[in-house]
Amino acid sequence: GAGVSQTPSNKVTEKGKYVELRCDPISGHTALYWYRQSLGQGPEFLIYFQGTGAADDSGLPNDRFFAVRPEGSVSTLKIQRTERGDSAVYLCASSVGQGKNEQFFGPGTRLTVL
């Protein structure tokens, strides 16, 4: 079956530009997560959606980062005024419900800010 998909797979942008990263979760998964993975590190939590609403956005580093999930399926992570420090792999995951259920990860979007 189809897994979690993310587009684009790679994004190169210039400092100060705006970017959008898209995540298409597994059909029927109500929970959706965004993580950020820097080189040599484990994924770090950014934001969690249960349905359409952001249930926990405590991992977003600052107000340049924002995410939406308007219809409870596809989600978009938006980064304004990108900085070189935003360069990382952005991972999306989804799960059936939450808690004890494993999260299924997409292949990630590699963001490079020049």
Binding site: G42, Q50, K100, P107
Partner: protein, 115 residues
Amino acid sequence: AQSVAQPEDQVNVAEGNPLTVKCTYSVSGNPYLFWYVQYPNRGLQFLLKYITGDNLVKGSYGFEAEFNKSQTSFHLKKPSALVSDSALYFCAVRDYSGSARQLTFGSGTQLTVLP
């Protein structure tokens, strides 16, 4: 708060030998524990999880992990390593007594199985 430590950045083992990748955790309440594997340029793949019950958990590709509450550990093991097991392994935890729904990951352990 919840945290995970993977004390070894790198583990090397000969093919056919048993392997262990170490993980310790810290939570305020009780843990859900997970192991994921990451191959180059690919997303994380779920291997196994501990929720409750039997302390020895069996997962994909012949991997297993043992939950030890007194030592707050959840080490990943395999009786006989394959070259194809070479990858980056991540341990993750979620405190099911807490409000957080996300996973907290360790920094990863690079496993290299030598032919």
